[in-house]
């Protein structure tokens, strides 16, 4: 009876894994198919793989769009981690007037729908001539990523024992020195985790990117979304492109797999 129950549990776990893995595998498989094989009825499972789709993707504007995505995501992350770590440390170590209110307000930015800021940012950036420029998306992404970084990093700073900082103070360190030379190095892992989440979130965003960029600063998802409107859908190019684009995120996920709870719950759980 116990053995049976255990076997059933394992079977269920394997089934679940298959449900979540299959769509991804199917797209990976499809990215190595020719146009004819892609549209074959019934779908083909065994075929001679071709790299043509990847070659096509790299010959299009796609590498440029990936570059845009990376520039925007990395800049957003650097700004968010810098400002986020300062404020998170502040909330963690000092009591300021209205601290609860401020923290809650920052948390509530998690709920702000992107569509609500599309209209005003579109108008402002249009007036300033910043539409379709990297800086436009970087600024808007900062709104969402700074608030995220503050909350997640606060959790990491809270975990650093105060005694270590007090000892540094006794050694004559000033508060900024304590922060830079003691707290930040101790929060290294937390900073890296938070940075990876910021990168992923910025890479994955679509609504703001499609509204605020058109050509020059177009990110990879926006570029891919336009592939499908030109004479039918080039599924080979789309699947190859998405896989190249997603590969870094997959690697990032493997790196932060033990901190997923913290990252996905805005630091509310760990």
């Amino acid at each position: 009876m116990k053995v049976l129950k255990r076997a059933l549990g394992i079977a269920l776990a394997l089934l679940v894994a298959a449900v979540f893995l299959f769509p991804l595998l199917w797209v990976v498989l499809s990215s190595f198919k020719t146009k004819l094989e892609l549209l074959a009825v019934p779908p083909v499972f065994i075929f001679k793989p071709t790299l043509q789709n990847y070659i096509n993707a790299f010959r299009s504007d796609f590498p440029l769009q990936v570059r845009n995505s990376l520039i925007i995501a990395v800049s957003t992350t650097v700004i968010s981690i810098t400002l986020g770590s300062l404020t998170a440390y502040g909330f963690s170590r000092y009591t300021i007037k209205g601290s609860d209110f401020l923290q809650f307000w920052i948390l509530s930015l998690r709920m702000l729908p992107a569509i609500a800021v599309v209209v005003p940012f579109y108008l402002v950036f249009r007036t300033l001539g910043l539409l379709d420029r990297h800086i436009a998306l970087i600024l808007v992404y900062c709104l969402f990523n700074i608030s995220f970084a503050v909350w997640v990093l606060k959790g990491f700073f809270d975990e650093i024992p105060l005694e270590l900082e007090e000892a540094a103070m006794l050694d004559g360190y000033s508060p900024p020195q304590v922060f830079l030379k003691v707290s930040l190095p101790l929060a290294r892992a937390g900073l890296a985790t938070t940075a990876i989440f910021c990168l992923i979130q910025s890479l994955n965003e679509f609504l703001l990117a499609v509204s605020l960029t058109t050509r020059v600063a177009e990110t990879a998802p926006v570029g891919l979304s336009k592939v499908q409107t030109l004479m039918g859908v080039d599924w080979g190019l789309l699947s190859a492109g998405s896989i190249v684009f997603m590969l870094p995120v997959v690697i990032f996920t493997v790196i932060v797999r033990n901190e997923l709870v913290r990252g996905m719950s805005f630091g509310r759980m760990r």
């Binding site: 991804l24 509530s108 729908p113 709104l143």
Partner: protein, 314 residues
């Protein structure tokens, strides 16, 4: 509230050295908060107020803005498209979130077993929610295709009829929910699993010794530890589906016949396709208000004792 008032002044310094140190501390604390708060205020509050202003104008890009007061809102509330989008958004939210919560709890218990290889299975299950919703939508559109899609192929193989995903109003809505459930059920499971991890081992052992029934065990032992993670998951998922854009936009473009057009898609259309900025601002404000109400209710459930005035970025 002025920025400087937020920083606590210390009690009076005794010596000049201490005074200098106190001043330095004050500036240090200002540096910690002021740049971030200022930037966030500029990026969140200013645009929202600006957008509220814009929503009071009949403003199409390229022509002059004309003050019409609540005209956009009045037009919106008499527009069947708006009510359809609201209904669709709410339906998606209720359907997707309730399925995700139920399946998420089950998934958490499946993933809570211990055996070799469970680490890899968990990684596989938690991977989709990290990937761009845009890409996920794209993949499912490929799989839902009526002629060469793998989903219909599998359905017909096991003797079921092929389903017109993406072209039939009802099935297109089902498809959007399926994609959301596929991507986000693991998120609920992740939080539940973290909640299960906080249950003291003695408690679980005691229950095993007592041979408590499964339901009793769930109600008495698991539930108290799962309440917070589940409400948190409910909060995040409800808010995210209320602002759903990426996957229906990619899957169906809002069609057929606007039956998968969420409020975010409707707002985007007015903004980017019709250049009707005033209308887009009005719609986006409705999204903000709906999310505000839902978030307030759920947050009150999470912190029943400490009732706080909550707003979404306002």
């Amino acid at each position: 509230m002025s920025q400087e008032a937020m920083v606590n002044e210390r009690e009076g310094p005794a010596t000049a050295v201490e005074a200098a140190a106190g001043l330095r501390d004050l500036w240090w604390r200002r540096l910690l908060f002021i740049p971030t708060i200022t930037l966030l205020l500029l990026l969140a509050i200013v645009p929202l107020i600006f957008s509220l202003g814009v929503s009071l104008f009949n403003y199409t890009l390229g022509s002059r803005a004309i003050w019409i007061g609540l005209g956009n809102y009045i037009y919106m509330f008499t527009d069947p498209q708006f009510w359809l989008a609201t209904r669709v958004t709410v339906q998606f939210t209720i359907a997707a979130v309730s399925i995700e919560v139920v399946l998420g709890i089950l998934l958490a218990f499946i993933l809570n077993q211990r055996f070799t290889g469970m680490g890899i299975i968990r990684l596989i299950v938690f991977l989709p929610m990290m990937l761009a919703p845009f890409c996920i939508g794209l993949f499912w559109r490929f799989m839902f295709d009526q002629t060469f899609g793998i989903v219909d192929y599998m359905l017909t193989r096991i003797g079921l009829p092929a389903i017109p995903w993406l072209t039939h109003p009802f099935w297109a809505q089902v498809a959007v929910v399926v994609v959301d459930v596929w991507q986000w059920t693991p998120f609920v499971a992740l939080l539940v699993l973290a909640g299960v991890g906080t249950i003291p081992a003695e408690l679980l052992e005691a229950a095993t010794l007592d041979r408590a029934s499964t339901w009793l065990k769930f109600r008495q032992i698991y539930w108290p530890y799962l309440r917070f993670p589940l409400l948190l998951a409910l909060l995040f998922r409800s808010i995210d589906t209320l602002k759903l854009f990426d996957s229906p936009f990619i899957l169906t473009g809002g069609g057929p016949g606007n039956f998968t057009s969420t409020l975010s898609i409707l707002g985007y259309r007015h903004q980017i396709m019709f250049f009707n900025v005033g209308m887009a601002a009005a719609i986006s404000w409705i999204v903000v208000i709906i999310i505000n109400i839902v978030a307030n209710i759920l947050i009150r459930l999470i912190t029943p004792i400490k009732v706080e005035q909550v707003s979404t970025g306002l």
